[in-house]
Amino acid sequence: MTKARHTHGVIRVAAPLAVLASLLFVLPRSGPWFHAWLPELSHPLYTRTSFGALTLAHLALVTIATLFAVAIGLGLGILATRPSGRSLLPTVRAVAVIGQTFPPVAVLAIAVPLLGFGAAPTLLALVLYGVLPVLGQTIAGLEHVPAATLHAADGMGYGRWRRLREVELPLAAGPIMAGVRLSAIVSVGTATIGSAVGATTLGSPIVEGLVGNNTAYVVQGALLVGALALSVDAVLGAIERRIRRG
């Protein structure tokens, strides 16, 4: 790897993280600016919960949801590509696609009566949403492993699980990681809706701003969500590139 490419890679990761950190530092001190821009608002700065706490809560929710989504998506993807599970493949794909066509708001509407208000229904919606990218990429990645490689592995005496662990998963790791990244980014965006049912996320200022006609809150929440999404994308993207290079 050349030094220039390395430097370029570092910047790609560091820049969004720097933006996020700057926002977390600047936004709590930006009351006068928002007041100048929107003088009619009596409270131009969201202060119910600190932006740092909101970001951490948001990130925690996304992390947990993504871990579940990866566990389910990877598990189903592996199962559906085994000889014994291949008949499940169309069903698994169909279920995952149906999960994706369901709007997140509808999932929340159904989940709240079952799970109550707060983080739980949000987590359910995020997991349902996060599974498809991981599942799809796991199946695609495993099916792209060259047939000759698998044939040779069988001929040399790899057991089924050892072949999966040492040959198939390493070769499919790039696409799978792309699925994980997509799943996490979608979750960062979708998690904001959770605040409509009482979860504490970066969506809280956005929802409150929309309800109370407070544009400043909406902008503050949106800026942080955007910066967080870019940061997550950058970090996971760097991991993915490292895996693909092998």
């Binding site: 044939h151 040779a152 040399m156 005496g157």
Partner: protein, 309 residues
Amino acid sequence: MIEFDHVTKRFGGHLVIDDLSLRIDDGEFFVLVGPSGSGKSTLLRTVNRLVPVDAGAVRIDGEDVLSRDVETLRRGIGYAIQSVGLFPHRTVGENIATVPRLLGWPEGDIRARVTELVELLRLDEPGIADRYPATLSGGQQQRVGVARALAARPRIVLMDEPFGALDPITRESLQGSLKAIQRDTGTTILFVTHDMDEAFRLGDRVALMLDGRIAQVGAPLDLLHRPANDRVRDFVGGTRARLRELAVRTVRDSMRVGEPAEGEAVDVADSLQDALAAMLAQRRDRLPVNSRGERVGAIVLADLVANGP
């Protein structure tokens, strides 16, 4: 010893191997040759149980392969295929080390064996063991494939058209390497090809397979001199059979001992095909013959043409 005992295999309704019996002795370089669809690859794969037989038995040293644990069985048999199937995420060295590692060899032994094989297969470009397969030429990849098949010093090696995708020069060089290694190690090799020249060049014995049966089995010259029927005669070469024969026989068989000749000498161990090529190249109809650098006689074009080798 590999023994096929009334082996039958069907794919769907199609009979691929038809009640076939065959014995391959220890240390033999045995070639299964035949057109596409003759069942030769399928037969090969019954040995390491990549294809289960429908009826009959395949035995190694008298023991039915079905009675062995399938992974243990496969780790004890070398396997090389035309598409090579190297692990793209592993270096050349790691690829070669695959089976020793599956068998749990100590790390030091594995390293030593990899070094040995890199030399044996003439993969002697510096640093090649640390490169990834994608950076190698087709010929180098197949050398790695063969090295990987030989890595754990298996007594039996199965090879399914390993050189089929290579250019003629690379193929001939690999054939030479393989034949020499086989002679030195006494490994039993079961080799599948559709290339008759390759079969005759490599095989101690050759079996011609047609429609799931052995049409004829024997030493290359048996098939050339005494084809069992017209189909065999067609397959072993028809009018080109004599040319093939020249490739199988050596100068030693046809030289005139003690006679003089002019020109650049050929060696007694060269094939008659090489000798003919040398005559054509030098525009002479007789050439001197050397053995270990000493002049021992002459080889004469008329002998090749008139009497036959």
